[in-house]
């Protein structure tokens, strides 16, 4: 007896056309072995459907993002080297041209030098980064949590706190801007204890300019219309000085936020140290 094995997976899935299904049904009536196989396959499909998707443990992709940052930086350096070479070559070409023109027209060396300076400046000009609306308008500043060292666990706590605080802020009629004062409780030290120097006290804030520039350089969504910066912290992450930026993010520009996303960026070189997200 020839068994229609190539059809049995689709038969179990219920995706066969009428004709092929009729062939299988007719075969199964007379083939106990295939009937048993179909029953077994159905059992397996049900068992697999019961497997739930597991959340990705914290920190899994952190090293990947760090490597991506380093590669991007190398590319940028190479590109900058090329730009400088081109600028140098262009300046040299301009010098030759200006000298030639000066000789022809009897112009002075001073004029040539002034022209050269102008051209070189134009060639080496680097476009300024695009500036959107001020992304720091939604925060009080950079919370200074000096000496506080966040681990992945601390970041998770911070994400949960931020989600709760965001809900509280949305529910309150007037915010007093002090929601961030509990932030340090999300951090853990090496021994797993919270290192809070100012719990319940005032939180020191610094101007957000350098932090925002660093975040922007790392590719954080500071200018994305669907993201809102709700907290910006300067502390340490796994012993590395870092900016920790907490965003509430929605699926689109005008849609309600559905998650909190935390970007952790090295303050030294603005590289991504890790990313974390928490559904609201």
């Amino acid at each position: 007896m020839t068994h229609p094995e190539e059809l049995l997976a689709d038969y179990v899935d219920g995706t066969l056309g009428d004709d092929e299904r009729a062939v299988v049904v007719a075969h199964l009536e007379g083939c106990a072995a295939c009937r048993e196989e179909v029953e077994l396959a159905r059992t397996a499909v049900q068992a697999l459907a019961a497997l739930e998707e597991e959340p990705v443990p914290l920190g899994v992709t952190g090293p990947v993002l760090s490597e991506a940052g380093r590669r991007s930086e190398r590319r940028r350096t190479e590109l900058w080297g090329r730009v400088q070479w081109i600028a140098g070559a262009a300046a040299a070409a301009a010098l030759v041209l200006v000298v030639a023109v000066s000789l022809d027209l009897g112009g002075s060396d001073d004029e040539a030098a002034r022209t050269l300076g102008g051209d070189a400046a134009a060639e080496s000009a680097v476009p300024a980064p695009e500036e959107g609306s001020d992304p720091s308008a939604t925060i009080e500043g950079v919370e200074q949590q000096i000496g506080v060292n966040y681990t992945d666990e601390g970041l998770r706590t911070l994400a949960q706190e931020s989600a709760v605080e965001r809900d509280a802020m949305l529910g309150a009629t007037a915010g007093d801007g002090a929601a961030g004062a509990t932030g340090a409780t999300g951090a853990t030290g090496g021994a797993g204890e919270a290192e809070t120097e100012d719990e319940g006290g005032d939180v020191a804030f610094a101007g957000p300019g350098p932090a925002i520039a660093c975040l922007r350089s790392a590719g954080a969504p500071v200018d994305a219309p669907r993201d809102r910066l709700i907290r910006l912290i300067e502390a340490e992450y796994e012993g590395t000085p870092a900016y920790i930026a907490v965003f509430s993010e929605g699926p689109g520009a005008d849609q309600a936020a559905d998650r909190v996303v935390i970007w952790v960026i090295s303050t030294g070189d603005c590289q991504i140290l890790t990313l974390l997200q928490q559904a609201l």
Partner: protein
């Protein structure tokens, strides 16, 4: 600046043109599927973490060779499957005492609270039984039955004809059901399996 509405292929282009946030968004978008594929393939969280990192690092290195003939999802799954195969091969070469694989999926304790414990024990049974199925069959089931990818996409990921996917799917399911039966017959008795399942 990348946007969540960007297609994967747009993010690849942005990454290659120097947009630092684009790769991070690709990772964010795919890490869950990649990690879960690796977890089901390897059966150990530690291995799944390693395979996930390796898959994304490979993607980072090879993204410039991604030509867009296949969807990025297909390509990323292929990279992940290869990372899992590499890791499983490495693990097979390790001395038995160093593997520690049997510790990762502990036998369920006798259930004190029947309702929820039954689900947990069943889930662990399935995860264990899945590891008894040969890798080439296991991967087809994970992609199709767990991650809901259509057979033609599974074929594209694995680089095999669709007919081979159908055949492996059917044989793999039967092997899984038999392994599941063995797991339940075995009850709570610990001990590694000989890995043989009738296909």
């Amino acid at each position: 600046m990348p946007d969540r509405g960007d297609r994967d292929e747009d993010l690849v282009r942005r990454h290659l043109s120097g947009d630092r946030g684009a790769f991070a968004m690709l990772v964010e978008r795919h890490e869950r599927r990649v990690y879960n594929l690796a977890l089901r393939m390897t059966g150990r969280e530690e291995d799944a973490r390693d395979a996930t990192q390796e898959a994304f690092l490979t993607a980072l290195r090879k993204l410039s060779s991604f030509r867009g003939e296949a969807a990025f999802t297909t390509w990323m799954h292929r990279v992940t499957v290869n990372a899992c195969y590499d890791l499983l091969r490495k693990r097979q070469r390790q001395p038995l005492l160093d593997r520690g694989g049997e510790d990762e999926l502990p036998r369920p304790e006798p259930p004190p609270a029947p309702d929820h414990a039954d689900d947990t024990a069943f889930s662990i049974d399935v995860r264990r039984a899945l590891l008894e199925v040969p890798e080439d069959f296991r991967v087809v089931m994970i992609l199709h039955d767990v991650q809901d990818l259509p057979q033609d996409e599974v074929a594209a990921i694995l680089g095999v004809p669709v007919g081979t996917v159908k055949s492996r799917l059917h044989r793999g399911r039967i092997a899984l059901a038999r392994a599941l039966h063995v797991e339940r017959e075995r009850g709570g008795a610990p001990g590694p399996s000989d890995g043989s399942v009738t296909l």
